[in-house]
């Protein structure tokens, strides 16, 4: 569905992605993990042409999105929904108007239909009560849920999530994990999730890829990922108390 072919990207003189190649299979939830500054968000931005590679290409299906321009790029981007790290809601629009924005700008839907669709998506995330509020009145978690409602409102084929659960309480985090999982199971949506949260990654991911120093150090299904022999992956797993005995087993040794 999405393919990186020998992608290299430098930012500020530093190599962020170094000859990276991988493929996101259709209908899967592909999770990208790694330390801060490893190049996870940069990878995500290449998928929607917010960044372009210095070398290599990024494909979405048969289209080369990294070389697309103008209306062609807009057509390719219409296949995506993106949840940004800080939600990226427009501050002068209400929650309802934010979620309705892509429908109003890109479709010929009537106001009644827009209202029905927007409220339906907001209720999926328990945010229908906040429809008339403005982003400045919302907590970080609420903003993220509104951002997610906006990302799914056009029913995209592919959804990109940049740190969807960071800064959220555990209950809301699980709600978002469930939503990502349901979108894959029920609608066959392809998801790419960038996260630090390995517990979330292991529960929703069908593939987990770890980036370190601009290189892919592991790319495997969750059960193989937690048994990886790579030292960087092992350290990353241990840092979140995940042992090889099971994805959900916290390494409680030495923790009382």
């Amino acid at each position: 569905m999405i393919a990186f072919e020998n992608v290299t990207k430098k930012l500020g003189g530093k190599v962020i992605l170094d000859d990276v190649s991988f493929e996101v299979p259709k209908g899967e939830t592909f999770v990208v993990v790694g330390l801060s500054g490893a190049g996870k968000s940069v990878t995500l931005k290449h998928m929607v042409h917010l960044l372009v590679p210095d070398r290599g290409v990024v494909r979405v299906g048969d289209d080369v999105i990294s070389e697309a321009r103008g209306p062609e790029l807009e057509r390719m981007r219409s296949r995506f929904g993106v949840l940004f790290q800080g939600a990226a809601l427009l501050q002068w629009l209400s929650v309802f108007e934010n979620v309705a924005l892509p429908l109003r700008e890109n479709t010929k839907m009537g106001e009644e239909e827009i209202k029905k669709t927007v409220l339906e998506k907001l209720s999926l995330l328990n945010m229908q009560e906040a429809a008339e509020k403005y982003p400045s009145d919302l907590s970080g978690g609420m903003k993220k849920r509104v951002g997610l409602a906006r990302a799914i409102v056009m029913s995209p084929e592919i959804i990109l999530y940049d740190e969807p659960t960071s800064g959220l309480d555990p209950v809301t985090s699980r709600l978002i994990d469930e939503l990502i999982e349901n979108l894959r199971k029920e609608l066959g949506v392809t998801s790419v999730v960038v996260t630090h949260d390995l517990h979330s990654a292991l529960s929703i991911g069908t593939h987990i890829m770890m980036i370190d120093g601009g290189k892919i150090v592991e790319n495997a299904p969750p059960d193989k990922f937690i048994r990886s022999e790579n030292e960087t992956v092992k350290r990353f797993l241990e840092s979140q108390y995940i042992t090889r005995r099971g994805a959900w087993e916290k390494g409680m040794e030495g923790h009382g």
Binding site: E74, R77, F84, L90, E105, N106
Partner: protein, 277 residues
């Protein structure tokens, strides 16, 4: 000993390299300026093409909001500046003219300089400092919080969604505000003429209307439209290309004011030269 010789040699080399380094730096600055100007002009062209979408409900609403911000919200400061500019002009020229017993001519002196130069110039500076900087700060904040990226990903062109309404509002509102500045500037001059220089208000007005030509008004209004386009282009470009968080927003705002001021001065001079020489 060897070390001292090497250090002296290095110093001599640095000294010789200085002009080359300065020349290289200057070249880099010129290239960067050309690059920015090119991108800003492409943005302006794209936003101008999108004016055809202004009748869409959301674009109409956004343009009306920008007209309100540019026009109504700037009236207070423009009123004060215009009145005092006219008063200062009248006082300075009036005192000189009185030495030759020609104080009745302050009407024409104030009217011609206000309509031809000071009106559009003062309005341009005020709008660049207030509205231009606010646009740069708003779009800059949107850029660093990924709102611009979100618009792009939603296939909503920022040039249509954000730049076009601001461009239209500034290009439309600048001449209107300039006429307002002209009227208040002349009125301010009249107040000083009547109260300080002993010229009757009627004589002041007669003198002002006798010497100011229609051409002065048209050229002044042309300048106002051009200044509006300059402010919108500089502010939107600086805002949309902001990086590096709050520091970047501050830099974009400052750069907007400085660049707009310089361009208003240079382009104002060029227009005057084009029509009067």
């Amino acid at each position: 000993m060897m070390k001292v010789v090497r250090s002296e040699h290095k110093e001599r080399l640095d000294y010789l390299n200085l002009p080359i380094r300065s020349f290289r730096r200057l070249g880099r600055i010129i290239l960067m300026a050309c690059h920015s100007m090119g991108h800003a002009l492409i943005m302006l062209g794209s936003a101008t093409l999108y004016i055809r979408t202004i009748w869409r409900p959301r674009a109409r609403r956004e343009t009306a909001t920008q007209l309100y911000i540019t026009g109504i919200k700037s009236l207070g400061v423009i009123t004060v500046v215009a009145l005092f500019t006219g008063m200062i002009l009248a006082l300075q020229t009036g005192l000189e003219l009185r030495r030759y017993g020609q104080e009745e001519f302050i009407g024409s002196a104030v009217a011609v300089s206000v309509i031809r130069e000071m009106g559009p110039f003062m309005t341009g500076l005020i709008i660049a400092a207030s509205v231009g900087s606010a646009i740069a700060a708003q779009l800059g904040t949107m850029a660093v919080s990924e709102e611009i990226a979100a618009l792009e990903v939603m296939s909503i062109n920022p040039n249509r969604f954000l730049v076009m309404p601001r461009l239209v509002a500034l290009a439309l509102m600048m001449p209107i505000l300039t006429v307002y500045t002209n009227i208040l500037g002349i009125l301010g001059g009249g107040i000083v003429g009547t109260t300080q220089l002993g010229v009757s208000f009627q004589a002041y007005l007669d003198n002002a209307t006798r010497f100011a030509e229609n051409k002065d008004l048209y050229v002044g209004l042309l300048k106002a439209v051009v200044f509006g386009v300059i402010i919108a282009t500089v502010a939107c470009y600086q805002g949309l290309t902001t990086t590096e968080g709050a520091v970047g927003v501050g830099r974009a705002t400052r750069q907007t004011v400085i660049t707009s001021f310089l361009l208003i001065l240079i382009v104002g001079y060029m227009i005057t030269r084009l029509f009067y020489i």
